[in-house]
Amino acid sequence: MPSQAHRAPVLVTRGLTKRYRGADALVDLDLEIGAGEVVGYLGPNGAGKTTTIRLLLGLIRPTSGTARLFGLDSRRDAVAIHRRLAFVGGEASLWPGLTGAETLHLLGRVQGRVDVAYRDELVARFALDPGKKVRAYSKGNRQKLILIGALMTRADLLVLDEPTAGLDPLMEQAFRLSIHEARDRGQTVFLSSHILSEVEALCDRVGILRAGRLVEMGTMAELRHLSARTVEATFAGAVPDVALVPGVTAVSVDGGTVRCQVRGPVEPLLRVLVDSGVTGLLSREPSLEELFLARYGGDAHAEAHADAHADAPAPR
């Protein structure tokens, strides 16, 4: 695969802002997504994820800034953009009187391109009964219908807004398989979600949104670098005091076991552990969930963290 730098970006936003009656739904979003990338978009409810996506789709107008997809303006050239894009929303609102098959037929005709063989494969994969009327489907089945309606087009860009809401774990697996297939075919995916394991499993890069602002954007490795890793050490004899070791925070002692977090180089801590006769060592990188919770652990919690860091010696 050629590196991303050689590809024209599929999606670019510059200073994208949306205000509703004085409330900031989205502020100054700068985003760039290259062809073939799978990008996750995270944030708690109300952070501005759906606003971003409705702006990208041209369903609402930006207060300021621009969004360009395939080099075209999201609002002015919406129809041309939509020929190359497929969207899945988290709230499946479909026509209750149409059957699943009728809905897929309609959506395919409106889109203008359908891989019929792939559509049938997806119907089988998601175990959907297309003869049923939409009003008789459960929420999960409606979501499957919308997913199939988007995936079957093999669009160049998939824009997914909490696409697996209401799906059971088996169907979640079917969804992940489908996204892997899309990536293998070179499709670009923009996945907004708050299912962190899903984003962790699927995405090359992750953006984190907080109160309408993009606070973090990078690969999983880059994001992990920003956060502390957890270290758990067991000792046969006396437990050393590691609290003063540079970069170490959140120390807790439970019998012969020390648990702490370490930011930056681990060498100073390892030296202390080895000198104290460590017998067991467990170290792991923070999960996306921990990264996310660290970002959103509440303002009081965040301030407490900031204080702790101010007291601790500089990590580097």
Partner: protein, 553 residues
Amino acid sequence: MTASVAPTVATDAPGTRPVRSPGTVVAGRTAGAAVRSGAVWGAVFGVAVASSAISYSTLYTSAAQRHALATAYGANLATSALFGPAPGLDTVAGFTSFKVSMSLMVLGGVWGLLTATRLLRGEEDAGRWELLLAGRTTPRRAVAQALAGMGAGVVVLWVLTAAATALVGRDAKVAIAPGPASFFALAMVATAAMFVGVGGVTSQLAGTRRQAAAWAATVLGVAYAIRLVADAGVGLHGLIWASPLGWVEELGALTAPRPVALLPIAALTAALVVVAVALAGRRDIGAGLVADVDHARPRLSHLSGPTGLALRLTRPTVLAWWIAITLSGLLYGLIARSAGSTISGSSVHQVFARLGATGTGAQAVLGVCFLVLAVLVAFVAAGQLTAARGEEATGRLDNLLVRPVSPTAWLTGRIAVAIGALVGAGVLGGLAAWAGAATQHAGVRIGVVVLAGVNLVPPAVVVLGLGVLVLGIAPRATSAVVYGYLSWSLLVLVVGGIGATSHWVLDTSVFHQMAAAPAVPVDWTANAVMVGVAAVLGAVGVLAFRHRDLAGA
């Protein structure tokens, strides 16, 4: 809503206190909604009664004039079939009762069935019912409470109608005492009470609100048809006791009071409430007792784009309207000749002239009847707009607009489908009226009547244009503005028919702009102006829609 989700209701922990007894939450919520809508319609009922009484008492001052009116209408079987018998037209009370009874009875029935299906099946469709039933209540208790809450709405409707009647009755020229006024108001809301019950039962039987409302409306239509036959003077007057609307007629409020007819009304209302409550406990939430067809063979013929989808989605509603308008046209055609023979040289002539229908004979009668058809066709337009707005409000439109469909293409497609529905309605109404008249050898020419049918379309197109404008600039107000303007136009039409209204007011009614064809020739200039105004309003609306954000419910 707030009461049912307030944490204090959900817990019995020490120190917390329920905001309201959980036993009355449903009743309170439903009563709130029903009372609001009952107040609006109570005001409409009151204005209708008051305006009829005042205009009769100021217009027909001499005994001779009143006697002429009574002889003209009193024995007219055609108007008796359509609007009910007209005894005592030589008194203000008798005239008022004849003038408003049938419309208020039917409107009351429509209000009752729409309110019941909205607050029962509609709430269930929206998923709010589930939240309530997850709390401390059972389906039976919830339905009983909701029906009790709607009872409060009926009471408000009654109080306002009675108050307006009594108030206008204090005028010495009108002279209706408070007692008869309250009894009259009771008669006017009796249909509302019965059809709250009917809507309550169909809400248990049908699987969706639309289906429940359609079944209840069918019951209303059958009740109207039965009393129509009973009042048509063909020797079947005994049938009047087979129709709930007939019972209300038999109450004889304001003319010859017969309170005994309250018995079947009260019995039916009570029975329907009991049946609705009993049925509510026998079914699953979200499902109807009459099973839906869940599986269907795909019908793909229309599903190739947004406009085809609009055709498919609106087809059942449009077909129902077309059938209703065809039947009405047929009926008007059937009565045109006999009704026309009675108006020559009578004072009814003046009433017709005020509605714009000069001349005599069958064509004059059809001219007035076609005003009613014009109202029906305008309702088709309003329904199309509400449906279009519904697609946006529910988010179903998103499915199209995230694909290569421009907002302009979607909306113009919807407008085209709506115009097709309107033209079809007009032509069918005209053809049916001609066919009805032809069986009676009324001597009206097909070309004239069909053109009169086409003549019904421009006012409806104005309503459509206005609606598109509102959809473009204030989407959430679409339904309220369109139905509000339609009701206003209808009210002005009714009041204008009695006379004594300024031209400035008359001109605000879209129906006043239409020539009363086939009584008079079609006014193509007026029609061109109406279509032109509609086109400008619609174009501005489409442009505004294109440039605004999509708006949810």
